[in-house]
Subunit: 229 residues, 2 copies
DNA sequence: CAGAAAAAAGCGAACATTCGCTCGTTTTTT
DNA sequence: AAAAAACGAGCGAATGTTCGCTTTTTTCTG
C-alpha cells in the first residue's frame, strides 16, 4: 500500500476544490445566488454552525433562531441560502454524495490483485471520511430528516461499498490468495470499522492516532481475517 | 463456549422478569400508579409505540399527538405515565441500564482463562442486546435527548465494556495465550461488532442469521485477531 | 474615474401553525 | 360511594416561514 492521506488530499482538491463551492454549484440556480465569493463564504458559516448545533442537540432540535444567533445571520438572511429547514439536511446529503462519487467512483478501475484492490478501497474510504468527517457524521446521525429518494441513494451507496468489499474477498479466495470462511461477516466488520473512524473521531484524536495509522491497523486486520497466505 | 441464547433467556427472565415490570418498579412511586397490572400493560403499549414512532421519524420529531393516536390513549391519559416528554427517553434509558447491570455485572466473576472470559463477555452482550434490541437501538440513536447525568452513565458503561475487552486481550498476551500487536484497535473492533448486532438487526434477520450464529462468527474473528495459539 | 441607478443580499418584526402540557370532567375500577 | 384512571378541549410558548424595508454590492453612464 502506498497511498497516504497527504497524497489523497491533493487528489481531493484537484477533483472537487472544496465543500462550499460544491454546494454553490449544486444550488446557486435554484436559490438565485449570484455572487459566488459571498455565497460560498456564507454557506461555510451556515453549514459549520449546523454541524456544531446538530452535534450537540440534533438537527430536529436545532431551531432556526439558534442557527441565526450562532451564525450571526438574520432569519431572513438565512432563507436566502435555503428555502426550508429540511432543505439544509437535503443539501448536505446531496453535496456529500456528489463529492464521494467524484472521489471514489473515479478509481473503480479493476486491478489484477483483489487484495490490493481491497486495501485501496478501504484506505480511500478512510481518507475521504477523514477529510469530510463532519459531513459523514451528520449524514449518519440525521438521515431520519430525509425524503425517501435521498435516503435510498444513501442506503444504495452503503450497500455498494459492502458489496465491493465482499466481492474482493470472494475473488481473493477463488484465486487462492486467501482462505476466508465467513466473507459476509468479515465484510460487515470492515464496513463498520470504516464508520468507526468518523463516528468516533474524537476518540482517535485523543489517542493521537491519525488516518494513516488507522488504515495500517485496518489492513493488518484484513490480513488476519481473510487469512492471506 | 457453551452459553446459548436459549439458556441466556432463562437467566434473563429469572433475573428481571420483563421490561415493563422493571419500568413499573422504577417509576410507580414517582407517578402515583397503584394498579400494577394496568400500569405494566399501559407501559408496554406506550413504550412500544415510542419505539415504533422514533424508529421512523426520531424521538424529537415524534409528537405526543402522534403517540396518542398510535397508542389509542388520550393526551391526558398519557401524562399519567410520564410527567414530560423527555422523561420518556429518561425512563427508557434508566430501565435499560437497570436491566443491563442486573444481567451483566452479576457475572463479573474472575475466571482463570482470559480468553474464556472474553468469549463469555461478548456472547452475553450479544444475547442481552438481542433480547432488548429495540431498547439498545433507541438508546444509541436518541442519546441526544438526555440530560448530562444519564448520558455520562451511558458513556461510562460503554467505556467499561471496551476496557473489559481490552483487559482480557492484554491478559491473554501476558499469559502467552495470544499474540495481539494492536489490542486497542481490536477491542474497538469487537465493541463495534457488538453494536452492529442491534443496529442492523433487520439485516441479519433477513439473512436468517440468529444470535448464536453471530456469536460463533464473532468468536472465530477473535481467535484470528488476537492470534490465539 | 465618479457617482447614480439597478440589482443583490441582508434584516427582523409579524403571522399562522404546532407542540407540550394542564385541568375540569367523565368513566372505570375498587 | 370512594378512588383511580382516562379523556380531550384549550392555553401559552415556541417554531418555521414570510415580506416589506434597509444596506451593500455591482453595473451602467456621463
Amino acid at each position: 500500500m502506498n497511498l497516504s492521506y497527504e497524497t489523497f488530499l491533493q487528489e481531493f482538491e484537484a477533483l472537487v476544490e472544496d465543500e462550499w463551492s460544491c454546494l454553490f454549484d449544486l444550488y446557486h440556480e435554484k436559490l438565485n445566488l449570484k455572487n459566488r465569493k459571498i455565497a460560498t463564504k456564507k454557506f461555510q458559516t451556515i453549514i459549520e454552525c449546523v454541524f456544531k448545533l446538530s452535534q450537540t442537540k440534533g438537527f430536529q432540535a436545532m431551531t432556526l433562531r439558534d442557527l441565526s444567533q450562532e451564525s450571526g445571520i438574520s432569519m431572513g438572511g438565512l432563507y436566502k441560502y435555503f428555502s426550508n429547514k429540511n432543505q439544509i439536511a437535503e443539501m448536505i446529503h446531496a453535496a456529500m454524495i456528489q463529492m464521494a462519487e467524484t472521489c471514489l467512483k473515479i478509481r473503480q478501475y479493476r486491478h489484477q490483485d483483489p487484495v490490493f484492490e481491497l486495501n485501496e478501497l478501504l484506505a480511500r474510504h478512510v481518507f475521504l471520511s477523514e477529510r469530510l468527517k463532519k459531513w459523514f457524521y451528520f449524514v449518519f446521525m440525521e438521515c431520519k430528516s430525509l425524503d425517501k429518494d435521498l435516503m435510498e441513494t444513501i442506503i444504495a451507496s452503503e450497500r455498494f461499498m459492502e458489496n465491493a468489499i465482499h466481492q474482493r474477498i470472494v475473488d481473493a479466495n477463488q484465486q487462492g490468495l486467501s482462505q476466508c470462511t465467513n466473507p459476509d461477516f468479515v465484510s460487515a466488520m470492515l464496513k463498520v470499522m470504516l464508520q468507526e473512524w468518523y463516528l468516533k473521531s474524537w476518540k482517535y484524536q485523543q489517542k493521537n492516532i491519525n488516518a494513516d495509522q488507522y488504515v495500517a491497523n485496518l489492513l493488518l486486520s484484513v490480513y488476519q481475517l481473510i487469512q492471506v497466505k
